[in-house]
């Protein structure tokens, strides 16, 4: 048993760290009365590319100008810019988290900004831990570059305060009534004082920036916060980037050597179990099920994110989490329709059959957050006679069917 110590290492500014030290301007000009409002970045520009690939459109074909055709041929055969980054992005496979970690800032930016791949390991979505930590240490101002976590936290704080206030009012009302009914005798001043104390307390709770904080911001400590966060890619995301797009190279955390593409699939399949399976890959491995569905929806242009928070397998975003909420929640269900599985009642009965109340439960949870539930049935092929090494061939044996589910109420769906 060890007691742990916080592991934020504070290094003096100017030391060689992964990112530049925050610029601190010690200007002598008077501080403007209104702090500059934090501006949201222009998401439409930032996330213009749907995938981390560079594409160059071919020059236009002008029918009466035969030279334009030549131009197209040249552009097609000798593209000016490479669509793939060179060298390729690098991710490290960690058996401890069953995931791929990315620490290079360029790669994190490329994967998050272009297609919303991965998640900050200490953040809700985009890696922003270091910003929050800097604010906590006073390196940056209270309202500077607010992260989505902080916005949520403030909202929750306000809500909590509202509830406290409501509970207090309720109690006061009840006591007043009891006094009126003569059931209790009110102690003269004590109560009054207490109530006032509570009110005062609640004022301190409201997160109003005191005027002195402006001055404080001038005395920002010059510290460098070590970024403990990495971008974490799920096995499916990493495989899509490596196999589907070919922009990612995956190294093993233990040997620091590149894992060849042909070994990736079986490695990921065995690590989709907890604890990992060492032998006996099955056609209904969790990785196969998930990847087939992930690849399917990514190919159709959806931004696919894990959906555990809403008790589903995936969430489908039209453009990405920064633009809109996910409209659809995906639940993956294996289907053992192939005659091969008829004899395997353990799978057919055990994994296909679910109680009705389970379906109502998942549907209610999705409708609570205004998402449409999509049941995605993956037809499980029989085990191959010979284990095939061609990933495309393996994937082509799977079929996907989608069923959208919505509760229908007689009385509410009349028109």
């Amino acid at each position: 048993m060890t007691s742990s110590t916080p592991s934020i290492t504070i290094t003096p500014a100017g030391s060689t760290a992964a990112h530049p030290a925050p610029t601190i301007s010690l200007s002598v000009t008077p501080v403007p009365p209104v702090p500059p409002r934090y501006k949201k970045p222009n998401y439409h520009v930032l996330h213009a590319l749907p995938l981390p690939l560079t594409t160059t459109p071919l020059p236009p074909l002008i029918p009466h100008n035969p030279l334009s055709l030549l131009h197209i041929i040249v552009a097609y055969l000798f593209p000016g810019t490479n669509s793939h980054p060179s060298p390729l992005h690098v991710g490290i496979f960690h058996a401890s988290t069953h995931a791929i970690h990315v620490t290079s800032q360029d790669t994190i930016k490329a994967f998050w900004n272009h297609g919303f791949f991965g998640k900050g390991s200490l953040s809700r979505s985009e890696p922003t831990w270091v910003i929050r930590r800097r604010r906590a240490l006073g390196v940056i101002g209270l309202d500077e570059a607010l992260t989505s976590e902080e916005v949520t936290e403030r909202r929750r704080g306000e809500r909590k305060e509202f509830k406290r206030e409501r509970a207090r009012a309720e109690r006061e009302r009840r006591e007043k009534q009891l006094v009126e009914e003569g059931k209790i005798v009110k102690e003269a001043d004590g109560d009054e004082g207490e109530a006032a104390a509570v009110v005062v307390k609640s004022i301190t709770f409201a997160a109003v920036e005191p005027p002195s904080s402006r001055r404080k911001s001038l005395e920002r400590p010059a510290v460098e916060v070590e970024d403990l966060e990495h971008l974490q890619l799920t096995l499916e995301e990493a495989f899509f980037l490596a196999f589907g797009l070919g922009v990612l190279e995956i190294k093993d955390s233990k040997t620091d050597e590149k894992i060849p593409q042909k070994d990736l699939l079986s490695l990921f399949r065995s690590h989709s179990y907890f604890p990992p399976h060492t032998s006996g890959l099955q056609p209904d491995d969790p990785f196969m099920l998930n990847y087939v569905v992930y690849h399917h929806f990514r190919s159709l242009g959806w931004v696919v994110k894990p959906g555990i928070k809403f008790a589903v397998d995936y969430l489908l975003y039209n453009r990405g989490p920064v633009f809109t909420h996910a409209e659809f929640a995906v639940l993956i269900l294996p289907a053992y329709s192939h005659p091969h599985w008829d004899s395997d009642s353990l799978r057919k009965e055990g994994r296909e059959k679910k109680p009705w109340h389970w379906l109502h439960c998942v549907n209610r949870v999705s409708s609570q957050v205004k998402k449409t539930l999509i049941l995605v049935y993956v037809e499980i092929p029989p085990p191959p006679a010979v284990e095939c090494a061609n990933v495309s061939k393996i994937l082509s044996r799977y079929k996907v069917r989608e069923v959208a589910l919505r509760r229908w109420l007689v009385s509410r769906n009349r028109d």
Partner: protein, 306 residues
Amino acid sequence: MASQWGVVEPFIIYLVEGRYFLYDANVVSHVREMHRMCGCLTGTLPQIPQQNVFLGLPLELMTEEAALLVEKGAGYVVDDVKSHERGLKAMMEADKQAFLAAREAESVREMQVLLKAAEERKKAYKTPKASSLKDGDDGGEDGEAEDASEEMEEEPSSATVFDPDTKPKNSRNSQDISSTALRYYPVPSTSMPLYHKPLPPPPLSSLAPVPSKTSYPLYKHLHANSYFLSPGLRFGCQFMAYPGDPLRFHSHFVVTGMGWDEEIEMRDIVGGGRLGTGVKKAWMIGGEDKDKPGTVRTFCVEWGGF
């Protein structure tokens, strides 16, 4: 041991097509008051059949409720269809005649009550009218009323179930008393006592549905802790658990029963937690400890809040 509802235990629980029903409003009240069971009203209302918001008798019991009532000795299960057929077959001619005579007598009695009431109404109507100017109209009104009642009189007699010819003589006598009367045959809301002669309480038939081994111990456990339980399928669980009568309290738990070693996916635990917290309840799962029969463990899951 008749309760305030006049119900004597053990009462009959009717089994129809694998479902348990109570037909008698008194038994329904008794079960709710004395046994903390609400069941589900399933009967449609004859005048507004195209809605399912307000329902009436019969009351359908959950399998768990029926099983517990039988286990406590408060009720016993009777297969409604079989006992109906058996009762009809075993009925003697004398029983039939006696039944018809009793029904007729009841009908006559009802009619006389009605007649008497009508007479009194007429008297009360005529007394002030005698002083009024329009005396002559009285006869005409009476005649119309007579015609109408004669037309309607035909219907009940042709609706006699067994044999129109056996219609007892005294019915004609009663018509002699007054041909203006309306005839009613009482239709009881419960099954006929004629062919439901109290049978010895049989053991729960092996064909009757028994509650699932995963949910029944949990049901009994919560019931013993004075919770009211109602079916929870609509809400995504097996039972809703109320701390008192559901008309007075909100439910506290959405409950699902499980086997001791039955596997549940983490994703579904998260789903259960969200389901409960979304409606300010806790999601409860539980079941019987395999190693300690009779012991039920329950676990309540709520969102962690961060």
